[in-house]
Every structure is written in C-alpha cells, then in structure tokens.
C-alpha cells in the first residue's frame, strides 16, 4: 500500500494534512522546499505519523513560484509514487495541485471536504453552485487534492522520521522572476484564531458608526471582522479583518454578523463557526438561512441594546 505525500508552504498547515493522512491509515511523507537550510522546517513537521521528510533546497525555489515548485514536487512524487498527494487550499496550494495533476496525468480535487478513501480512489465533498449544492466527487485512481485550512487538527508529538535530501533536483528553465512583494496591511488583530468575532457589513452607513460594534466587541472580548465591501471597497477596516472567500476563513465559537446580507463569498468564510448570529434589516437576507439566532431589525437600535444587556449580564 502506497502512502500519501503532503506539501504546504506553511508548516502549520502541513501538520493538518499529516493528521488527514494518518486518519486515512496511510504512511505519510512530507515535502519541504526552499532555497536555504531546511532543518527548521523539517523539525516542525517531524511529528507523530510522519515517516519520511523529503527536502529539496535549491535557488530556483527561493520564491516558490509555481514552475520550479511543481518540478520539485514532481521529482519527489516520482520517487515516492504515493497514491495521493495533499495540498492546503491556500492560493499557493490551489495553483500547484492542478498543474502537478496535469503533469502526472492523475485526478485533481480542489477544496475537498470530508476526504475518504474508496476502493480505487478518493471521495470528497465539494461546495458547488455558489454553495447551493454539495457535489460528491470521486477520483478514479491516484489523485491530488487540496484540503481547506483548519479542517483537521495539527499533528503533534516529536518524532524522528527519515530525512531524505534530494540533491539532484534539476528545475526546468524558467523565465519568471519576482520583482517585489508587499505584505498585506496588518492590524494588531488576529481574526483567524479569534474565539468570538463580530463582523460588520454594508448595513453600516459610515465608518464612524463602527464604534458601536467596537463597543460590543469590547464587552465580549471579541475581534471585529468585516465583509469584503468594508475592507476592499471602502477601506474602513484593514484587509486582514476580511472574512470570506477572498479574505480569511474563520472558525470561531461565536460569529455575529451585523448588517451583513450573507453573500456566498462571505458565508464560505464563516460557515464553520460554531454558533452564528445575524442582525439585518432585510429579513430575506441569505444570512438568516445560515444563522442560529437572528434579529430582523435596525442594527443602530439593536447593537447598543445588546451591548447594554450583555454588559449587565456578564458583569463588565
């Protein structure tokens, strides 16, 4: 029985893929790539369940551009001949998986939820038609798949897997170069791991009005998030607060959507929240189909009341 190979440009996400591999009862090998010494990365992924870590260090991999990265993954793949290869559903992962699959002439499943093995391939669920439907898809034989972030816990426990350095890596010639990089504008806030998120949407009429939401967030020890229009279009909040398909996928214990109608791009980013609350004037807003508790009404009247009540009840 061949194993699974996992690769992610972030070690943390790679550990989630290791958990998946172990869960499927397969031997897991991890690929680490870069242009320098890879011992730190290798150490991070040396956890229970990992049998082998393959390292390729090459100048061609300094920016992890798709071309040389796929070349590197191909060279590991051909050595290991795994049945399955998993990537994280990050933008990087999703540009690599299809190209590698096309090169290897095997199947490709992106954003695979609930991946399972069947007799001759892998079965998974995918959200399609704007989240209106779930397609159950199956590969015929070996496949690569990208797995949504945080779908699995990170594997842990120190271990000492085999470490194999691939020295004879020869990337194809490439004509693509990186001219520069601009990090996303970041606030102090980490929305990704927040336990409670209160998110603002188009229902807010002006930037100053977000103060009432900040007030609620303070009482709840919550982080303020936002839907795409408020970050990308209006710039009321930094980009790293954006919840949704083009922002961050979040999984808090409590998600309060205020003045957010619930476009599918947004819903995709918060669907995994444990408890969802929606406050919106439009009772037909899609968010009300995706909430546990909802209030149809004017957020300007409701939020201060809610803040007052919770402050009282929580004794803050």
């Amino acid at each position: 029985m061949a194993g699974v190979l996992v690769y992610s440009d972030s070690s943390d996400s790679a550990l989630e893929l290791v958990t998946l591999g172990s869960k499927l009862g397969r031997e897991v090998s991890v690929v680490v790539l870069g242009s320098e010494d890879l011992s730190d990365q290798t150490k991070k992924v040396s956890v229970n369940g990992v049998s082998t870590v393959y390292q390729i260090s090459s100048d061609a991999l300094s920016n992890l551009l798709a071309g040389p990265t796929v070349d590197a993954l191909e060279s590991v793949y051909s050595r290991v001949s795994p049945d399955y290869m998993f990537f994280s559903s990050t933008k990087k992962g999703k540009e690599l998986a299809p190209r590698l699959a096309a090169r290897l002439k095997i199947g490709c499943i992106t954003d695979a939820m609930k991946p399972e093995l069947n007799e001759n391939g892998i079965t998974a669920e995918r959200l399609v038609l704007g989240g209106n439907a779930i397609a159950t898809v199956a590969s015929r034989g070996p496949a690569v798949a990208t797995i949504p972030l945080r779908a699995f816990e990170r594997a842990s426990g120190n271990a000492s897997p085999n470490v194999i350095k691939i020295e004879d890596f020869q990337p194809r010639p490439t004509r693509t170069i990186v001219l520069g990089r601009k990090e996303k504008q970041k606030g102090q806030v980490n929305i990704k791991d927040a336990e409670i998120i209160v998110s603002a949407g188009r229902g807010f009429k002006k930037k100053e009005d977000l103060a009432i939401l900040e007030e609620l967030a303070k009482v709840l020890n919550a982080v303020v998030g936002a839907s795409r229009p408020l970050t990308s279009d209006l710039g009321w909040l930094p980009e790293d607060r954006q919840v949704g398909l083009s922002g961050t996928t979040v999984k808090p214990k409590l998600y309060i959507a205020v003045g957010i109608s619930g476009q599918i791009q947004h819903l995709t980013g918060m669907r995994e929240s444990k408890l969802v609350v929606a406050i919106n004037t439009d009772k037909n807003a899609p968010i009300f189909q995706e909430c546990d508790y909802g209030i149809v009404g004017d957020l300007y009247a409701i939020i201060p009341e809610l803040t007052k009540d919770l402050k009282l009840q929580l004794g803050r």
């Binding site: 990050t90 096309a102 038609l129 779930i134 520069g180 409701i302 809610l306 929580l314």
Partner: protein
C-alpha cells in the same frame, strides 16, 4: 522586405486568447430542501462571473496595447449567446467548442481540450482565464492549461501590464501582493478584484453578430473522443445534494430592546459568551 529609413519596424499586434465558461446562474436556482433537490428546469445561464473579469481585462489590455482578442468557450450549443456577449464586450473573434464527447468531462479534460484549441489557433502572446468558475470553482483549468502548453502561469492577477515582450503581474496572494515578471507568451489567471466588467451597449450587442464566430468540434480539433470528456475523466461527480443547514434559525422580531434581550439570554444559555 526592406524597411523605409526612419520608419519603425511594424510590430505584430498582441494576440490575446481569453477562455470562459457558460454556466448556470447559481443565484437564481431553486433549491428544494425538502426533497434534497436542485431544480435546474428553466435555469438561467450566463458567462461565469469571474470569467467576465478575464474578458474585461483582455479588452482593457487591447484598448491600451492594441491587439486582437480571440475568445474561446468549451460548452453546450446554447453557449452561443454567452459567446456573443463576450464579442459584444470587445473580443474580436470567437471559437465555440461544442461536441457531445466533450460533455461531463472533468476540469483537466476541459483544460486539455482548450490546449488543443489554442494549438489550432496557433499564434498567441497571452492567455487569460479566471481563477475559478462560479459553478464548480475548481480553479483547475488555468494552471492545467498552462501545463499542457508548457507556459509560465501567473495566477491571481490583480494588475497586468504589458510592455513590449515583458509581462508584469501583481498577484493577490493570501499574505500580500507579489509582483512577478516574465516574457510573453504566458498564461495569466485573474482575480475578481482586477476590474469591474463593463455592460455592453445594445449597439455592441447587435454588432457582435457580425464578428467571426466559428464552431469547432472534436473532428475539427483532431481530438480522439476516447481521450476526453466523461470517457477520460479522472474525477467524476457522483451525486449532487443540497447542503443541510444545521443552524437553528431562531429569529427574534419586535422591538429592538426586546429582541436584543432575547438574543442576549440565548447567547448566555448557549454558553457562547462568558
């Protein structure tokens, strides 16, 4: 051919190929939750939203740099309407690829068919696709097409600049913007935020009918039907179901203070706030 002294060498126009998918309008589907069914009857169709951004970008590049845009769609026969829309938006000629053997293939199969179409078109400098289509959003076609054509792939473009043979792309990645450069030919997949697609005017819609629209099939492309479509798909869709929302959907109405109070109590009871 000799050059007149003082005249610049005449540059060949930029040849752009843009690919789109004709999809069901997912926003107007009727979902029958009770019977776990999606009602496709009479469903509207459209150019996939993100593909419209790719078409728009192709037209903007042409408006800036000059050039000729060939728009390509692999789809059902009724994709002709969408193809005309792409022409109305400013594409110059269209190739609509229709063949029963191409139906129900996986995205890799579509990418392979597109690669054969591109080869038949012959000359090109730039291929544009979206990052994903609104129906299945696999995001496979762009990178796979680049692989089949052995082209550099510049994905998630939020800005594209072409100067001579040089192509510069801002890529909107998870953690920031990466600016990359390469020489054409290349394949670029665009992000939604790259532009706001235009509305074609009625005049443009009417004149789209006069532009070249060729229908090609497996035979024209010299594709053996057994290596594409459902016959060759490495991933198949087994079933389609309606997601069950496990949410409670308890809605409080009435006066703001009453609704807020009920909500606060519910949150405490759930142990969601501490």
């Amino acid at each position: 051919m000799t050059q007149q002294p003082g005249t610049k060498e005449k540059k060949n126009p930029l040849e752009i190929i843009v690919c789109f998918k004709h999809v069901i309008d997912e926003t107007e589907l009727r979902i029958d939750r009770a019977n776990n069914k999606i009602n496709f009857e009479g469903a509207k169709t459209k150019i996939s939203d993100d593909d419209k951004n790719a078409i728009e970008e192709a037209v903007r590049i042409k408006e800036k740099n000059g050039g000729i845009i060939t728009v390509v769609c692999v789809g059902p026969a009724d994709a002709k309407k969408s193809t005309k829309e792409a022409l109305a938006m400013g594409c110059d000629r269209a190739r609509l690829i229709v063949d029963p053997s191409f139906q129900d293939g996986d995205a890799l199969s579509t990418a392979y068919i597109l690669s054969q179409v591109v080869k038949k078109i012959g000359k090109f400098d730039l291929i544009l696709t979206s990052t994903g289509t609104t129906d299945s959003y696999t995001g496979i076609v762009g990178p796979a097409l680049a692989e089949y054509l052995d082209l550099p792939q510049l994905t998630y473009a939020s800005k594209i600049t072409i100067s001579g043979n040089k192509l510069t792309v801002d890529r909107a990645l998870d953690d920031g913007i990466e600016t990359v450069e390469c020489e054409i030919p290349a394949l670029v997949t665009v992000s939604r935020e790259i532009n706001q697609p235009r509305f074609p005017t009625l005049i443009q819609i009417m004149s789209a009918g006069k532009k070249e629209l060729l229908e090609w099939n497996a035979q024209t492309l010299g594709i053996n039907p057994s290596v594409v479509g459902k016959a060759d798909s490495k991933v198949e869709v087994k079933s389609l179901s309606v997601p069950k929302s496990a949410r409670k959907k308890v809605i409080f109405e009435g006066k703001p203070e009453d609704a807020a109070k009920q909500l606060a109590e519910a949150l405490l009871k759930e142990g969601a706030v501490k």
